[in-house]
């Protein structure tokens, strides 16, 4: 939270026009809107990832699932000229199956989450390539284009999409007992099982949800650029998603999760990128700055680091 506020303040002071939001052609335009729009895929990934991390897991395959979902959508348009409902439903369904597959490996086969999802991360991009035959598919589909480029309520449609996803996730996890189940599972799996919690079912549904989010996130860039590139779609986005979740205050040790925090984390990452770009700094700096941010956030989360700081600064920090 503080990090985002600081970044916004920095922009207010040093980047002219960052906060100016104008209305053009009946839509809002401006850097802030652009940040929201561009952060949408990572925000969606972060939503799913938050729940997975809350169960003490991690999902490395989201980038590959994005590539699969995007490749499927493109292929359905290019080769089969499918109706819009099919173009959206089939990739989402396949992404859901990918998530369930991860969930079964983690919950039933009891493979560590990093390894279980590594398998789909390695193989998934190959599968996406197989779907597009290794080509970059381009197409022209006005209806499908709406997902990535359309506007609703004067805002990019992606913002509405993220808002709906957040609302749905928040209602399901905070208004029903599911959120509690997820947190208790992350805190102490054995105790949860002894308390009668169906840990297997909870785990599978969490990974399934994460897969679904990745599938949805995969449709956005494909619709935006009217093309699918299996090689680069969602590349390294799993890292950004994990980073967003951790920035948002959810601990990698599980047990507690903050959905809105994760979305803010994703926004911080995107604001960072936009800030760097709009300040004319070479884009290569983004990665270095990201590294420093990860390190600082990690350190702040470490009790040992806080103790060291407290020792160095005496009473001031304590």
């Amino acid at each position: 939270m503080i990090a985002l506020a600081l970044l916004l303040l920095f922009n207010l002071a040093f980047t002219p026009g960052f906060f100016s939001v104008q209305i053009k052609d009946g839509h809002y335009y401006g850097s802030l809107i652009d940040v929201l729009n561009r952060a949408a895929p990572v925000m969606l990934l972060a939503l799913g990832m938050t729940l997975v991390i809350a169960t003490k897991g991690v999902d490395l395959s989201v980038g590959a699932v994005m590539a699969i979902s995007g490749a499927l959508a493109a292929q359905l348009i290019v080769r089969y000229h499918s109706p819009l409902a099919v173009i959206i439903a089939v990739p989402l369904l396949v992404a859901l199956v990918c998530g369930i597959w991860n969930g079964i490996l983690v919950a039933v086969a009891e493979i560590q989450p990093i390894v279980a999802t590594l398998i789909l991360m390695v193989a998934g991009r190959g599968i996406a390539q197989l779907i597009t035959n290794g080509l970059i598919l381009t197409f022209d589909d006005r209806a499908f284009q709406f997902i990535g480029q359309g506007h609703l309520f004067r805002l990019p449609f992606t913002v509405t999409l993220v808002g709906l996803a957040l609302l749905l996730t928040a209602v399901v996890t905070r208004r029903t007992a599911l959120g509690l189940f997820i947190e208790s599972l992350g805190n102490n799996e054995a105790a949860s099982r002894y308390a009668g919690l169906r840990t297997t079912a909870v785990k599978i549904s969490v990974y399934a949800f994460c897969g679904l989010c990745a599938g949805l996130a995969g449709l956005i860039p494909v619709s935006d650029i009217q093309g699918a590139d299996s090689n680069n779609a969602g590349l390294y986005l799993e890292m950004d998603a994990i980073l967003a979740v951790v920035l948002g205050g959810t601990s990698l040790n599980g047990g507690r999760f903050y959905l809105v925090g994760s979305l803010i984390g994703a926004l911080i990452i995107q604001t960072l990128t936009t800030t760097i770009l709009s300040r004319g700094v070479p884009s290569q700096m983004t990665l270095v700055v990201k590294a420093i941010v990860v390190l600082i956030v990690c350190l702040v989360q470490s009790a040992e680091f806080r103790a060291t700081v407290a020792r160095v600064f005496g009473r001031e920090a304590s």
Partner: protein, 317 residues
């Protein structure tokens, strides 16, 4: 034979089966030179994977491997080509930087008790970003002595063995010696077996953990050097995703990802399986993305084998 040998044995059986199938189908596959290529074409993966083996044996993970390969390769190329360093000095600088970066990550993991996953993720961003800051473009190395090293090879009967293979084998032998012949190696296994127990036994848990990541950083930097010899150029975006290939090689080679169980020699088998799959898929005239799918399937197969074997062991303990 202990249960821990079974995954390694399974890897050998898979390798042998693949080789027999491929050799039966394509007579050219039987040429010894093809076998030599398994080593030389994957030398930089192998060197990085030896470092990764120690990290995984200790129960950790290192995501910065591929990025360090990219960074050191471009660093070496720019130092030699634009700054006119002698190749030896450029390589030394790269190795020192890689080792320091690894040691830095190890120190953060050690002193601040942070998950290796996050710390090495930061290391990955840092190394990849620094590489791009050095040069976005790929830089060819035109230095005469470097070119000679790139082209040099030793004729061993029907097989020409290039310098990269020698470096790979040397690192492999060093890894085996470190793992089974030194206190450091014993500590690594103890750490992966049970962190707390190792601590209670009075083993130097902290320093060992730091050294493991420093060693992995060194191996990655050396892998970057091997890359420059192999391709006679440096490229900041080289070895994208190599860390995952390295992890896959280690796991396929029979090392348990929970740590404590495995062999450096197993990692060699893992790397060779990578090589045989790649070559076989080229021979079959299939696209290279089939390699990824095949590796994913093998990864699944070996993780499941390990699970089945680990289950009775977990029950008795």
């Amino acid at each position: 034979m202990s249960q821990h040998h079974i995954p390694l044995l399974a890897t050998m059986v898979v390798f042998a089966l693949l080789y027999i199938i491929a050799a039966a189908q394509f007579p050219a596959f039987r040429r010894p030179a093809i076998f030599g290529n398994f080593f030389s074409d994957n030398a930089f993966l192998g060197v990085a994977a030896v470092g990764m083996t120690f990290v995984i044996l200790s129960g950790g993970i290192d995501l910065s491997v591929g990025a360090i390969v990219g960074m050191t390769s471009i660093l070496v190329a720019v130092l030699i080509q634009n700054r006119h360093f002698s190749p030896l000095l450029a390589v030394a600088v790269a190795l020192v930087i890689g080792t320091t970066l690894g040691a830095g990550m190890g120190a953060v993991i050690r002193y601040f008790k942070l998950p290796p996953f996050l710390v090495t993720l930061a290391g990955m961003f840092l190394a990849r970003g620094s590489g791009f800051l050095i040069s976005v473009e790929s830089v060819p190395i035109k230095d005469a002595s470097y070119a000679r090293l790139s082209e040099w090879s030793l004729s061993l009967g029907p097989v020409d063995v290039p310098a990269t293979t020698f470096i790979f084998v040397a690192v492999l032998l060093l890894g085996i010696a470190l793992a089974h012949g030194t206190k450091f190696g014993r500590n690594v296994y103890a750490l992966g077996g049970d962190d707390d127990a190792a601590n209670l036994m009075g083993l130097p848990v902290g320093p060992t953990r730091l050294r493991i990541y420093a060693f992995s950083g060194f191996c990655s930097a050396l892998a970057g050097v091997v890359y420059t010899i192999y391709s006679a150029s440096g490229n900041a975006s080289a070895a994208n995703g190599l860390e995952l290939d390295a992890i896959a090689s280690v796991v396929i080679g029979g090392t348990l990802l929970t740590g404590g169980v495995g062999y450096v020699a197993g990692t060699l088998m893992g790397v060779l399986i990578f090589g045989i799959i790649q070559t076989y898929i080229t021979f079959l005239n299939l696209s290279s993305w089939w390699t990824k799918i095949a590796v994913g399937v093998l990864l699944l197969f070996f993780v499941l084998i390990q699970k089945v074997l680990a289950r009775p062991a977990a029950r008795t303990s």
